[in-house]
């Protein structure tokens, strides 16, 4: 941060200055994670760029471009587009509900002809934006606990219910957790949080028993007792744990992970890529990558905290919360601490939509940093 460069009026709007204000350390951390992902994808396809590694890198390159472009977008534009993006996402979710392509047993995709769109991914950004915008106009007192909190609850509930109905339990949990995180960050009374936590804990068993689909229930029951049927539904968890455990301290060596190379590991290129990493690079490799994630989260939260606008703070922190949740849920799943839900390890796993979502989100984070001195004055306490 060069203080002298931004003293003159209008200086901050110059593109070159904006680019200089992008947090390049943050960018480097993200690049390291994505490169590790590419290296693992290269390994599991038998030391070949095809079919995943090359695509992963190309996509990441494109996403970096998008992120840089979004970083230069004025945070006030983000602010104005918050509700439209949310509304667009909601409409797409409803569209999927009506005409959605049934793939993998869940209506998650909307085929637009040129690209198969996953509206739930758009919603992850849209929800954060909408909540940040709403809280931007809300007093600290009201954010603590008031009738106006009905609005964020509805904002969270609508997409969550639609996504859960698809059914995509992983994304639904992610949406609720992200929304909840933003509410807490905005100042929701910790007493209310505690009360909610107790209520949710009490509601989980009946929810699991009566609301979930059979396969979802089985995943949870399997998680609780994976050894009950090691070749059936407990297979994923068990094989993943074998991959992790057999990696040991330093791993089996690059390209030598038998669990992943011989296909014992399920979804080795997407949800279980971390297990591949663990098998080939061991405890040391895993901790290194986890530290990269910790660094990314720390930097993003710092960016959030230096923003002058409440929208910027909550938006950047909300995106970071989503990212952190991805890491936690995927990590816990791969290590046999959580049921198998379709949540990838962001930037490490192969998969375009999630990478795009995360990078768009970090585009907002970078934009918040670039425009940290911008004040947003309009929209105070209103919905529109």
């Amino acid at each position: 941060m060069t203080a002298s460069a931004i003293t003159r009026p209008g200086e901050r709007d110059r593109l070159i200055v904006k680019l200089a204000q992008i947090d390049w350390t943050f960018m480097l951390v993200l690049c390291l994670i994505a490169a590790t992902g590419a290296a693992m994808l290269y390994s599991i396809s038998g030391l070949s760029w095809e079919p995943w590694a090359a695509k992963h890198l190309i996509r990441f390159g494109l996403c970096v471009g998008i992120m840089i472009v979004l970083a230069t977008v004025d945070v006030r534009l983000w602010f104005m587009s918050a509700y439209p993006v949310y509304g667009f996402g909601l409409l797409l979710l409803i569209a999927v509900e009506i005409v959605g392509d049934v793939s993998l047993g869940a209506q998650r995709w909307l085929d637009l002809g040129f690209v198969r769109l996953q509206p739930s991914e758009i919603m992850k950004i849209g929800l954060v934006l909408a909540l940040a915008r709403f809280y931007h106009g809300l007093s600290a007192e009201a954010a603590k606990f008031s009738w106006r909190l009905v609005v964020p609850v509805v904002l969270i509930a609508l997409p969550t219910l639609l996504v859960a109905h698809q059914p995509d339990l992983g994304t639904a949990v992610l949406l609720v957790a992200t929304g909840g995180a933003v509410m807490v960050l905005a100042g929701l009374s910790l007493r209310v949080v505690a009360a909610l936590a107790v209520t949710v804990a009490a509601a989980i068993p009946p929810f699991v028993m009566f609301v979930l689909h059979d396969y979802q229930r089985n995943r949870i029951l399997t998680f609780l007792n994976p050894e009950a049927d090691p070749s059936g539904s407990g297979y994923h968890i068990l094989q993943s744990k074998i991959a992790l455990g057999s990696g040991g301290l330093l791993g089996k060596g690059y390209g030598l992970g038998s669990q992943s190379q011989l296909n014992f590991l399920p979804e080795k290129h997407t949800d279980f890529i971390f297990a591949t990493l663990a098998e080939e690079f061991g405890f040391v490799g895993c901790i290194s990558v986890l530290l990269l994630y910790a660094a990314a989260i720390t930097i993003a939260l710092r960016i959030a905290s230096i923003s002058h606008s409440h929208f910027g703070r909550l938006g950047a922190a909300g995106v970071t919360a989503t990212f952190a949740l991805y890491v936690m849920i995927n990590g816990a799943m791969v290590m046999g601490l959580a049921p198998v839900v379709g949540v990838p390890m962001p930037l490490l796993s192969f998969g375009g939509t999630v990478m795009l979502t995360v990078m768009i989100g970090f585009g907002l984070v970078q934009s918040v940093r670039v425009h940290r001195y911008s004040e947003i004055t309009s929209g105070r306490g209103t919905l529109l």
Partner: protein, 669 residues
């Protein structure tokens, strides 16, 4: 805001809350990552050994290679049991997603009937997921290669070339050699806590009877394994020849049997039910041990249908029973040499002393009959054996008492089992006063001695025992033991000739043997016509026996005893014959029992002659003796209806106390 503040605007308060909460969130995220790191440390550092083992188990697969089962040969090296290639298709449940689709695809390539399919599905659901199940066996080469080409598209299906047991002689050795069949749950249970993994191999068959069962572990060998690196679908990725374990073939077992003799015996017995045992008089080797009717052992290898099994098990003549070992019958007149020897040994009977036979004798309060209605007149011992005179032996038995006879019978092998390496022998029974006391808490009644003296009453023996009895008598010195298993894996088993001496005077035994020679070679002997071998100077000696299984009532005896042909099969007499040859220098002893066959001379003796001819002709030394072998004369046809050796009625009518008949009526098999 309850109190107004100059320094903290509302905006600043929101920022303060946010920063605290963001710090909290950062802490939570840090804690979460720390927890993940802890879990990683647990899995990767603390539990590393356990997961490394599981990973290796995943990665490498030891595929079991069943060893070739040891062959079973006869004394000349003829294969009695061997192996043939068996093309089959196996299926592993664990590697198949859709069983029905896989079976559909397979039925395009090989015939699978809907019944077989149902049976298969049942089998698949019953067996553990990782254990292969045989879909089809004994495929032709075309069918096999058709499946083999398609296996890459059919995960979990393998075309496999194994070996199957084959019995080239079909039924001839079904009882002695036995057979192998699919492993049953009981076999697995019997294998104990740590069963040989072979038991679960779909191609593996376990010995179920005879030598196959008794020497199963010897014949089985040791299984080998191929170490391969496999992927999650069980497909071989790489072989690891250094990790291979070669299978060890089962040992070859050589039996003392002669395939030609055994086959001839089965042929001669034909549809009759019975058994024939031939034994080497010098070594104790069993040359033949046949039981008829027999069954095709090969059927058991592939598995019988329930209808086939029912047909075998319900047939009146009991093909599944090994009659040579487990069929015990009253020996009838074939036992008379024992009574004679006991009399000589007792010193109480002079062999030249005569007994007058009038066809019947009064004892107790009833008549005992001789088989010959008019009687034989004055008989000395030699004549009594030759003519099989019942009255002579009634008198003799009465004079010397049962215990002397029992002692001789036991010395000659009756009432006991022999260690011939296979199970299933029934010891039969040699009665004595001690036995009677022990079994019935009653004294021996003299009337029982009469039946005992002519080989009836409670006395029973199997064909093996009668062969041993004859062989010991023919040998004249040694209490020979029978030997069935000649060698295992090239190691000779102890000969049956290494036995104790018989505690009887040679001249006494010679006297009995000459009586038996007369039976076969004196023109008036009971089996003269049926005993002519037609082998020049090589002659046979023998003793006929006809064991009665029913009570002949007084009324029937008065009106004429019914002939066997007019009776239902199960009431007819047992026909027996024991023989040894050559008479002047005994080499082979034989016993034959034809269950419900009729008269010993008419039915059993001609069969014995046929079998003995083959035995003798296969012996080079004996062939040399027969300077010019004559063509086999037609077997003389019995013209008279008279039946030799007919037993008196079992003493059930009047003489014996009520308790005894249950046993003395024993002839009813």
């Amino acid at each position: 805001m309850s109190e107004p503040s100059i320094f903290f605007s509302e905006v600043n308060e929101r920022q303060g809350v946010f920063n605290r909460r963001a710090f909290l969130m950062g802490g939570l995220a840090g804690g979460g990552i720390l927890a993940l790191g802890g879990r990683l440390a647990q899995l990767q550092v603390l539990e590393f050994d356990r997961y490394r083992l599981m990973s290796t188990e995943n990665q490498f697969n030891f595929r079991l290679i069943p060893p070739p089962r040891g062959r079973i040969l006869d004394r000349f090296g003829v294969e009695l049991a061997s192996n043939r290639p068996n093309f089959r298709v196996l299926l592993v449940r664990d590697e198949i997603n859709d069983i029905d689709a896989t079976l559909d695809a397979l039925s395009q390539l090989i015939p699978i009937t809907s019944e077989r399919r149902r049976q298969l599905l049942r089998e698949i659901s019953r067996s553990p997921k990782l254990v292969p199940v045989a879909v089809a066996e004994d495929l032709t080469w075309e069918e096999f290669s058709r499946v083999n080409v398609r296996t890459p598209e059919l995960p979990g299906v393998t075309a496999d070339m194994g070996e199957a047991r084959v019995y080239p002689h079909g039924g001839a050795f079904a009882h002695v050699v036995g057979y192998v069949a699919k492993v049953s749950d009981r076999d697995v249970a019997a294998a104990g806590l740590n069963p040989d993994p072979l038991l679960h191999h779909p191609g593996f068959r376990i010995g179920k009877q005879g030598v196959e069962k008794a020497l199963d572990t010897v014949l089985r060998g040791k299984s080998g394994a191929v170490k391969t690196e496999v992927d999650a679908l069980g497909r071989e990725v790489r072989k690891d020849p250094e990790g291979d374990i070669n299978p060890v073939a089962g040992k070859t077992v050589v039996l003392s049997l002669d395939a030609d003799v055994q086959s001839r015996a089965l042929e001669v017995l034909g549809e009759d039910s019975g058994a024939c045992v031939v034994m080497d008089v010098q070594s104790g080797d069993l040359i033949c041990m046949a039981s008829a009717p027999s069954f095709d052992a090969n059927q058991f290898v592939r598995g019988l249908t329930s209808a086939e099994y029912r047909a075998l098990s319900e047939y009146e003549r009991r093909p599944l029973l090994d009659k040579a070992l487990s069929g015990t019958y009253p020996p009838g007149s074939t036992f008379k040499p024992m009574t004679a020897l006991a009399a000589l040994d007792s010193g109480m009977v002079n062999p030249n002393e005569t007994v007058v036979c009038s066809g019947q004798m009064w004892f107790g309060n009833r008549f005992f009959h001789c088989w010959k209605r008019g009687g034989h007149g004055a008989q000395n011992m030699h004549e009594a054996i030759k003519n099989s005179c019942d009255i002579y032996f009634y008198q003799t038995a009465l004079k010397i008492g049962p215990d002397r006879i029992a002692r001789v019978a036991e010395a000659f092998g009756l009432g006991q089992t022999f260690d011939i390496g296979i199970s299933g022998q029934k010891p039969g029974l040699v009665p004595s006063t001690a036995w009677k006391r022990k079994q019935y808490h009653q004294p021996w009644y003299p009337g029982e001695s009469l039946s005992f003296g002519i080989g009836q009453g409670a006395l029973s023996a199997n064909a093996l025992q009668l062969a041993v009895m004859t062989a010991r008598l023919a040998n004249g010195h040694k209490a020979l033991n029978p030997r069935l298993i000649k060698s295992i894996g090239g190691v000779e088993t102890p000969s049956g000739a290494a036995a104790a001496d018989l505690p009887f005077k040679p001249e006494h035994m010679e006297l009995v043997r000459s009586g038996m020679a007369a039976v076969a070679n004196d023109t008036t002997g009971t089996a003269y016509r049926a005993s002519q071998l037609g082998l020049g100077p090589v002659l046979m000696a023998g003793k006929t026996g006809t064991a009665q299984v029913r009570v002949i009532s007084r009324a029937e005896r008065a009106s004429g005893v019914r002939s066997n042909d007019s009776l239902p099969w199960h009431l007819r007499d047992h026909a027996l014959f024991v023989a040894f040859a050559p008479y002047d220098a005994p080499r082979y002893a034989l016993s034959i029992i034809v269950q419900h066959g009729g008269g010993g001379a008419a039915v059993a003796a001609p069969k014995a002659r046929e079998i003995m001819r083959v035995v003798l002709l296969k012996d080079a030394a004996i062939r040399a003796r027969i300077e010019s072998p004559l063509p086999m004369p037609e077997a003389p046809v019995s013209t008279t209806g008279e039946v030799e050796g007919e037993a008196p009625p079992p003493p059930s009518e009047t003489i014996l106390p009520a308790a005894a008949p249950a046993v003395t009526g024993g002839p009813t098999q």
